[in-house]
């Protein structure tokens, strides 16, 4: 009996010590607080704007996420007492959250329509909605053919490849526009996004605009054709395309390094993707008419010579009036930074996006500066 008692006491002490030591060793991994900010990457003039403080919550399109990281970092560096949160919940979730007041600002891969617009107007009150294309990113059509860096493809050919009509890389339709390229007999593997995404929606909008016969599907976030290869997220499709010879996919242009890319046919020319050419298509496309003053929606034109027509246009949403002063000031500050030259350049560096044109900035800035409590 005595033996048991002794042992159990030893046992208890011993295991307590062991667990304690374990907990300590785990907790000792870090006592250091947050880093001192990302020097040299974000905003540099941290002097004046530091009167702001508090927390600002937004959410929406996950396509904006890497740009949003840059904006948040820049804004938080300039205003150390501010924390900006952005939930990458998807465009639909962002629009819903904006409409019911969960998010003070939102990102959406499509302009507001009908129901969402009504809900947002009701939420925003007299100041109305502010909506502008804060994030414009070229979507590259990328392929994996060893030795081939670039191909010229007409819109109809792109649509035929993605709808499965053209199945081999040495197809006549491809060869006709690429006389200098030695095309292999490799079979074409189409890789698309398996998740619900704004990139897919914008790419389909392009296809149905330029090749309505070849692409009769209604553009939406989910790929309409079954039985093709797919992968989760941008990194997923890039990874799948890199591992499969003969693969072709569409993805955010900043991610396609290592793959060949398509110069897209616009009129009689072929335009390779670049942030500048993508910025041009947005700058030269007309503004949608008949909207309120704060809303700057784009009616994308796909056939403007010298511009890159496949772009993801993602909108930033805010209200003209907010119930309390603090939120209004925060949103105003953040949106001003987001639309500013500096903010747009930060996003371009971080996410490869196309900066907002001066014309659009001049058009939306008055509305942003008018954001107030009320």
């Amino acid at each position: 009996m005595e033996r048991h008692v002794k042992l159990s006491r030893f046992t208890r002490a011993g295991s307590a010590v062991a667990v304690g030591a374990l907990a300590l060793s785990l907790a000792a991994c870090g006592s250091d607080p947050e880093p001192a900010g990302a020097e040299g990457t974000g905003s540099t003039d941290a002097a004046d704007g530091s009167t702001l403080s508090g927390e600002l919550n937004g959410g929406g399109a996950s396509s904006q996420e890497s740009a949003m990281e840059a904006w948040r970092a820049g804004f938080q560096s300039a205003n150390p007492d501010v924390t900006v949160n952005y939930d990458p919940v998807g465009s639909g979730g962002g629009r819903t959250g904006f409409g019911d007041g969960t998010y003070a600002f939102a990102g959406s891969d499509a302009a507001l329509e009908e129901e969402d617009l009504a809900a947002a107007e009701a939420q925003c009150g007299p100041g109305g909605i502010i909506e502008f294309p804060g994030y414009v990113s070229p979507i590259a059509v990328a392929f994996n053919l060893p030795g081939v860096d670039s191909l010229n493809l007409k819109p109809q050919v792109i649509a035929d490849i993605f709808n499965g009509t053209i199945t081999s890389w040495d197809d006549k339709a491809i060869a006709a526009d690429n006389p200098d390229v030695d095309l292999p007999q490799t079979a074409i593997t189409v890789v698309h996004r398996s998740d619900d995404s704004g990139t897919t929606e914008n790419f389909q909008e392009y296809l149905s605009a330029v090749a309505p016969d070849e692409w009769p599907h209604e553009p939406e976030g989910v790929w309409p054709i079954k039985g093709q290869e797919s992968a989760q997220g941008t990194s997923g499709v890039i990874g799948a395309a890199q591992s499969g010879e003969g693969a072709i996919t569409y993805a955010d242009a900043s991610q396609v390094s290592g793959l060949g890319t398509v110069a897209v046919g616009v009129g009689d020319d072929f335009v390779p993707y670049s942030a500048e050419a993508a910025a041009e298509v947005v700058a030269q496309s007309p503004r949608v008419e008949g909207t309120s003053e704060g809303v700057y929606a784009i009616d994308l034109q796909r056939d403007i010579a010298g511009t890159y027509p496949i772009v993801l246009v993602s909108y930033s949403l805010a209200c003209g009036t907010y119930a309390d002063e603090a939120t209004a000031e925060l949103v105003k500050g953040f949106m001003t930074y987001l639309a500013s030259e500096e903010g747009q350049q930060a996003a371009a560096d971080a996410a490869g996006s196309a900066p907002l044109s001066a014309d659009i900035r001049d058009a939306v800035m008055p509305s942003i500066e008018a954001i107030a409590a009320g």
Binding site: H4, S25, A38
Partner: protein, 319 residues
């Protein structure tokens, strides 16, 4: 005559000996084949283990540094190679600790009920459904937690507590199972002796049964913690993500190591306008992912090892 019989019997002896020692060749072949197959099965299982551990080690080790372990990702974006996983480690530890705090009392008391009090239909039902619960898919546990808190707090709320509840659903049955086994190991003589001294039953359980089995219980709990600390799917749908440090599971989003590893992997390559440099590494996200995976796997292995060692060193040698 005699010689021939002698020769014949010698032959027979030889034959018998040959039969006994060599079996027949077919049986020996089968035996040898099966031996090779069975050793082979073990070798086959070791291939993925070794390959996996080696991959994680070799891909993640280069990223491990003091900064990586003690900084968060706040204000870090693009290809910036500074920043680290402190916020994810903190989130993982807080959420797992909270799940443990929820699970251990319930699990331990249920085990006590099953071993000390349980008989009849209720005990049989509890035993059966605890076993069944160990098979609940982790994503379903996550959905359950989301559904529960959607009814309580409204939609779209993402806090650490929801993740802890989801993990608890996965953890409680594991705790019950292992604690039950440990309590059963406590010899009945100890209980009887305690009763004979007039000690009431509840005190006997607390002072005798639990004390005797504390090492085993610790092991069981550590292994249960190790089981849930790497869960990804339930946290993906419940806790949200953040890049700042948050120690409060009742307010605001939290990052955890498995979710961090997954999200870094899905982020893909970063753009570096000026090409690769000291401040911009294109594949930093995937490096971060492997780094986080390495830290996670080390935590899990340490928990496992600690569990085994606690049991081996501190459990009473009763027999």
């Amino acid at each position: 005559m005699t010689t021939t019989t002698a020769a014949a019997s010698a032959d027979a002896t030889e034959l018998t000996r040959a039969l006994l020692t060599a079996a027949d060749p077919r049986r020996r072949r089968v035996d040898r084949t099966m031996r090779i197959l069975i050793w082979g099965a073990f070798a086959v299982a070791m291939v993925p283990l070794v390959s996996l551990v080696w991959t994680v080690l070799s891909s993640g080790f280069g990223r491990i540094s003091l900064d990586f372990l003690t900084l968060s990702m706040r204000n870090i974006f693009g290809g910036d190679p500074s920043g680290g996983i402190y916020h994810a480690i903190a989130g993982t530890l807080v959420i797992t600790a909270l799940a443990t705090v929820i699970s251990v009392p319930i699990g331990l008391l249920t085990a006590i009920y099953l071993v000390e009090y349980g008989r009849g239909a209720l005990a049989r039902a509890v035993t059966f459904f605890v076993d069944v619960m160990t098979g609940i898919p982790s994503i379903v546990a996550g959905l359950f937690a989301v559904a529960l808190f959607t009814l309580i707090l409204g939609p779209g709320v993402r806090i650490g507590l929801i993740g802890a509840v989801a993990l608890s659903v996965l953890m409680i049955p594991v705790v019950v199972r292992s604690c039950e086994e440990m309590l059963k190991l406590v010899p009945n003589e100890l209980r009887e002796a305690s009763y004979a001294l007039g000690v009431p039953k509840w005190l006997t359980i607390v002072k005798v049964v639990l004390r005797t089995s504390v090492a085993g219980l610790t092991t069981g709990i550590l292994l249960a913690v190790a089981r849930v600390i790497g869960e990804t799917a339930p946290l993906l749908v419940t806790v949200g993500v953040t890049d700042s440090i948050n120690f409060d599971p009742f307010e605001g989003r939290m990052m955890t190591l498995p979710v961090f590893a997954y999200r870094q992997y899905s982020q893909g390559l970063a753009t570096c306008p000026g090409g690769e440099s000291a401040t911009c590494v294109p594949d930093i996200a995937i490096q971060n992912g492997w780094g986080a995976a390495l830290v996670l796997i080390v935590i899990v292995l340490v928990l496992n090892l600690a569990g085994r060692l606690v049991n081996r060193w501190f459990s009473p040698k009763l027999r």
